[in-house]
């Protein structure tokens, strides 16, 4: 990691940090982030700081640039302006897999599982950098291989059990129901030992009871693994109940930041969601 500048923040612009995390280094510190596609500015002036155990949300109308922001945070896109610091390290120019190693994991809006592999193997792929087993140990099946595999199986089963997916361990990931696939993506992200997890519409396609279950699980993940969670979601019930802080984007810019209560009553947010005339409606629409 030495080849990347280790810029530890002097004065974090604390916005999304819980009380107990005050003074600790934020897991995610984004400054003035922006990207242009051709002549089109997709994201601009995006600032956010997320503390080590924060659950925060990113909301906004369709096409506001939410997924683009996730792609910028994970190194899929290189920003035109600004910087992203994961655990204090600038990800500028890093390939996606190195950004992940810094402690940022994600799920995808259009589920991206390893469909031809078993559920257990999907999780073990997530543990890729955690499994200490050299190429030759693998190819020759030396004792180190069996030790590493045993540990990996154990930990993967624990993670699956945690999300209530243990029964599916041997099933092909592609044949799972939609809601289960979404949860498996979360397990896979967790398996990379992240300090912050980005969830891109985790409740999309879930029925109300699954969504309620998911809300509990998101909190349990934070409390058990002490990770920060940053999620994009259209289900306002989930966002307002789970998130401790919310950022609202529209046309690639943050239009509001604050607690769920502040967001609910923010006129700019209501306008973005419902248009100008219906100023009295609430943001949940």
């Amino acid at each position: 990691m030495n080849e990347y500048s280790k810029k530890i923040l002097k004065v974090p612009t604390v916005t999304f940090v819980r009380e107990q995390d005050q003074g600790k280094q934020p897991v995610l510190d984004v400054r003035n982030l922006g990207i242009d596609f051709g002549g089109l500015t997709a994201v601009d002036g995006f600032n956010i700081t997320i503390g080590p155990t924060e659950i925060s949300g990113l909301i906004g109308p369709n096409g506001a640039g939410k997924t683009t922001i996730f792609n910028l945070l994970t190194g899929v896109y290189q920003p035109t302006r600004g910087s992203v610091l994961v655990n204090g390290i600038d990800i500028k120019g890093m390939p996606v897999h190195k950004v992940n190693k810094l402690g940022i994991a994600r799920t995808f809006q259009n589920i991206r599982l390893f469909t031809d592999m078993s559920v257990l193997d999907n999780v073990k792929v997530g543990m890729h950098n955690d499994i200490k087993c050299s190429f030759f140990e693998s190819v020759l099946h030396l004792p180190g291989y069996y030790k590493a595999e045993k540990r990996a199986n154990q930990k993967a089963m624990e993670l699956l059990d945690f999300m209530g997916l243990a029964e599916f361990a041997d099933t092909k990931a592609g044949s799972l129901p939609y809601g289960v696939q979404r949860r498996l993506e979360i397990v896979r992200a967790l398996a990379t030992n992240p300090s912050v997890i980005l969830l891109d519409e985790p409740a999309a396609g879930m029925n109300p009871s699954e969504t309620t279950e998911l809300m509990h699980q998101i909190r349990r993940i934070r409390d058990t693994f002490h990770v920060a969670i940053f999620l994009i979601e259209h289900d306002m019930n989930l966002v307002m109940n789970v998130c401790e802080a919310i950022a609202v984007v529209n046309y690639g810019r943050i239009i509001a930041k604050g607690t769920p209560d502040e967001i609910r009553t923010n006129p700019a947010v209501i306008e973005a969601y419902l248009g100008k005339e219906e100023g009295d409606a609430n943001a949940e629409g």
Binding site: T74, V76, P95, V96, H97, K98, N100, K101, A105, R106, F108, R112, L113, F114, T115, D116, M117, S118, L120, D121, K124, V125, G126, H128, N129, I131, C133, F135, S138, V139, L140, H141, Y145, A148, E149, A152, N153, A169, D170, R188, A189, A191, T192
Partner: protein
């Protein structure tokens, strides 16, 4: 871990089947039940099995289409020939010499695979396919014009058309378009069998490890694989190099079975044939590759009695098999038939579903 057990059973059954086939053929051979033509098939069949399994690692497991596998086979073949002929006096034991030749061939093929992999593996899909095709043709072209000989002053090589002039008592090993001649036939069926076992060991172990999972993950979803911290290029490279290494070993085995061999053997058609073995055997299915390489190698040879018609029949069989196994309509028809069969054997229904 039910899953792990099932994998282990699958792996073990592959070893057992291969060993059984070897023992049966070996017994038949020692009893004189095999004619010389059949015996002549044994070593090339072993080489093609190894080539098919190694290509399956690349095409089936890693999901990269390669049309230049014969190029690596050629590197292994010519390296093996040179190394064994240089060691002719230093290592009198033929088996040991062949093994050294195969290892040298494999290593050089692997190194070349690594070197061309650095730029080439940035490409994907059909573009990677065409570049590997180009690589195979370049290799064929280079070997077809390589003159290599040895005399008391050492090893000499040139790519010039006028060839080499060696000191008295020198020996040409590779003579340009005429290829390598005067090869000592060191390959035996037993060594071929051992190479198959080695290949199975490497490939199956690899598939069921951290490395193999990463390779499969890259195939299934590259973007997701990156997102969980897998260096996609590194793992495509690993699959590519291992595949080239095994193909190189197989090439050495193949070449040392003949008295002479030319570069034109390692052409596009050979690459395509190996690919056909892989696809018909089933993508990612190792045992399938072994069976299809054996059957498809023997089939045209066995049909020699049909003379001119054999290759056209082979072509028809190939097309029909593809249509029957892949066509959606055919799949429907087949599933209707199997459903009926299942209806008759109701008792076995559970079992059948388990196998699906």
């Amino acid at each position: 871990m039910k899953k792990l057990n099932r994998n282990q059973v699958k792996n073990a059954s592959t070893y057992i089947l291969v060993t059984a086939a070897f023992l049966i053929l070996q017994v038949l051979s020692t009893q004189g039940k095999l004619n010389s033509t059949t015996k002549g098939f044994l070593v090339p069949a072993c080489a093609y099995i190894v080539l098919a399994v190694s290509l399956n690692l690349l095409v089936g497991i890693c999901g990269e289409l390669s049309l230049g596998h014969a190029g690596f086979m050629g590197i292994g073949a010519f390296t093996g020939i040179v190394v064994t002929s240089l060691l002719a006096e230093a290592v009198p034991n033929g088996v040991l010499r062949l093994v050294m030749g195969m290892i040298a061939g494999g290593v050089l093929a692997g190194v070349v695979g690594f070197l061309i992999g650095i730029p080439v593996l940035r490409l994907r899909g059909d573009y990677l396919a065409i570049v590997t095709l180009a690589f195979g043709e370049i290799m064929k072209n280079v070997f077809g014009n390589l003159y290599l000989g040895v005399d008391e002053t050492g090893l000499h090589a040139t790519l010039k058309t006028e060839g080499l002039t060696l000191a008295e008592g020198g020996k040409m090993i590779i003579s340009g378009p005429r290829g390598a001649t005067g090869i000592t036939k060191l390959s035996t069926f037993a060594i071929g069998f051992v190479l198959i076992l080695f290949t199975l060991f490497v490939v199956q172990n690899l598939i069921n490890s951290r490395e193999g999972r990463a390779i499969k993950a890259v195939r299934d979803n590259r973007i997701a694989a990156e997102s969980v911290g897998i260096n996609v290029t590194a793992f495509r490279m690993k699959a590519f190099v291992v595949s080239a290494f095994l193909a190189g070993m197989a090439g050495a085995l193949y070449a040392m079975n003949y008295g002479s061999i030319t570069a034109s053997k390692f052409n596009f058609n050979t690459s395509i044939n190996i690919l056909v073995f892989v696809v018909l055997g089933g993508m990612g299915n190792i045992l399938g590759s072994i069976i299809s390489a054996t059957v498809l190698y023997i089939l045209p040879e066995a049909m020699r009695g049909l003379q001119d018609y054999r290759m056209i029949l082979y072509a028809v069989v190939l097309i029909l098999v593809m249509l029957f196994t892949w066509s959606p309509k055919m799949k429907d028809i087949i599933s209707v038939v199997t459903d009926k069969v299942r209806g008759v054997f109701r008792k076995n229904e559970k079992e059948a579903a388990f196998h699906e």
